[in-house]
């Protein structure tokens, strides 16, 4: 479980996050949703420790992130996996080498065992055929899957995904969503996903936090999101035709 308490962050006098508190639960896909520029990425980067907040606290299963010693922080980081918006695969390495990278850095297993684990991760994301290809030789969806394989190589306890579906076609986006959800359940991870993809909200939104202009406006799950009375949330989600239809269908049933 990751707990964020009273988090505030400003950049050059402009407050991007206002006193945000939230709980991200273990074994669930926790979604942070909001418009572009609402502060989602800043919240995610603060939660990971890539950006230092101005005030507030972050706890990883009771361990306080802010003020943590270098050694402890490095141990905690090894329990984290991250899927970046652009995949962030290393250009100079093949897909297999990318997945093996965290194992090469931190595992004391033999080369054969490390390779076996990397191949298992690639098989898990259905990417065995691409092991010897470079990131520039594979599609966007394959890059995301390779990045997921790299993120789970060390069996992390926490998985962070920044816009995992950006630039993907709807079918591939659904596959990526399902993969992240299945892995979350399988590894009992605390997964935080930053998204503005409404398909993801319907598909895997087990715990959703809606942010508007740096303020937490609403928290709930995919079933509650449709029927919420929060005006700001409704403005955001019903901008999508898909959601309008979902709501309409729901009203007809009732």
């Amino acid at each position: 479980m990751i707990e964020v308490k009273n988090l505030t962050k400003s950049f050059e006098g402009r407050t991007v996050l206002h006193n945000i508190s939230a709980v991200f639960e273990t074994g669930k896909t926790n979604l942070i949703i909001g418009r572009s520029g609402s502060g989602k990425t800043v919240l995610l980067k603060n939660s990971i420790g890539l950006i230092q907040p101005d005030s507030g606290e972050i706890f990883y299963d009771g361990r306080k992130l802010i003020g943590m010693g270098k050694k402890e922080l490095n141990i905690l980081r090894r329990e984290m996996g991250m899927l970046f918006q652009g995949s962030a695969l290393f250009d100079s390495m093949t897909v297999l080498e990318n997945v093996m990278f965290p194992l090469d850095m931190f595992s004391n297993d033999s080369y054969k065992e490390r390779e076996k684990r990397a191949m298992f991760c690639l098989e898990r994301v259905n990417l065995l055929d691409a092991e010897h290809l470079y990131p520039s030789e594979i599609s966007g969806g394959m890059m995301k899957r390779a990045a997921i394989a790299r993120a789970i190589a060390l069996k992390p306890r926490y998985l962070f995904c920044d816009e995992p579906n950006s630039g993907l076609d709807p079918k591939t986006a659904l596959l990526i969503d399902d993969l992240i959800h299945d892995i979350t359940v399988e590894y009992k991870m605390t997964t935080i996903i930053n998204t503005h993809d409404m398909n993801s909200v319907i598909n895997i939104g087990e715990n959703i936090i809606f942010i508007k202009e740096g303020i937490k406006e609403w928290q709930g799950d995919k079933h509650q999101v449709i029927n919420s009375n929060n005006e700001a949330l409704n403005d955001f989600i019903f901008a999508s035709d898909l959601f309008k239809k979902v709501k309409k269908a729901g009203n007809h049933k009732s």
């Binding site: 890539l50 090894r78 984290m80 970046f84 918006q85 962030a88 250009d91 090469d104 931190f106 962070f160």
Partner: protein, 247 residues
């Protein structure tokens, strides 16, 4: 002034972070071999081509300019050797390498920064500066002396070639000049200078690349700034080291 001091402080802090015991030695050596090959071995051809031609031109220019019955012919070989050993193969060659290698380092690290590859390394708990920068610095410091020796050798060969082409000198007088009053310390002087230049090129380029903010345009700017700044620093270091070691 404040901006310059701020940048100097950032540079020192980055070097402190980069020059540390690697998280894993096996990965460090793997990266080191890669960097030596990419930054050093791949530069061999340009060093050889430039040195042969410049060696030839230096010999021809000297023969043209000191064509006097009062000056012995072997002076052409002697002067060519001194120019190549003292200045060309170390300082001028490193200025050229600052363009090739420096821009390569700055653009590679800069691209990794804007595509979040550096963030990905940090998230894993790896010291990204140490993992990315130290192998480049050590690799270049190890291999640049090899390039300098190649440059000296091929530059002299170029000069010998000119002695066969130019009727104002003879190969025998040129070879005598090459051996005349030879001071082996000049080779060490060049090698020591080149090691310092290697540190300047790799560390400054890495600093500019590592601190890129923005997009592709900013990577290009960082690359240009890295080359300009390392060239200035090479010239400054040249003056200081020449004063310290030769006077």
């Amino acid at each position: 002034m404040n901006e310059s001091l701020h940048r100097l402080g950032e540079y020192v802090l980055l070097m402190k972070k980069a020059i540390a015991i690697p998280d894993r030695w096996s990965m460090f050596f793997k990266q080191l071999i890669r960097e030596i090959y990419k930054l050093g071995v791949d530069s061999l051809w340009i060093v050889v081509i430039i040195s042969v031609f410049i060696g030839t031109v230096i010999a021809i220019q000297i023969s043209l300019n000191i064509n006097s019955p009062l000056i012995p012919k072997f002076t052409i070989g002697y002067t060519t050797r001194e120019i190549i050993l003292l200045e060309f193969s170390s300082s001028i060659m490193c200025l050229i390498l600052a363009g090739k290698v420096g821009s390569n380092i700055a653009s590679e690290i800069g691209t990794m920064r804007i595509t979040e590859q550096i963030d990905a390394i940090e998230i894993m708990g790896v010291n990204s500066a140490n993992f990315l920068i130290m192998p480049k610095i050590i690799g270049l410091m190890l291999f640049i002396p090899v390039l300098v020796i190649f440059s000296m050798f091929t530059g002299i060969i170029g000069g010998i070639g000119a002695s066969y082409l130019d009727t104002r000198m003879t190969p025998s007088s040129f070879e005598y000049g090459l051996q005349f009053y030879f001071n082996s310390f000049y080779i060490w002087y060049s090698i020591i200078k080149s090691v310092v230049y290697a540190f300047i090129i790799s560390s400054i380029a890495a600093y500019f690349g590592y601190n890129v903010k923005g997009g592709a345009l900013d990577v290009g700017k960082a690359s240009t700034n890295a080359v300009v700044m390392s060239s200035i620093m090479i010239l400054l270091a040249d003056v200081i080291m020449t004063h310290l070691m030769l006077t």
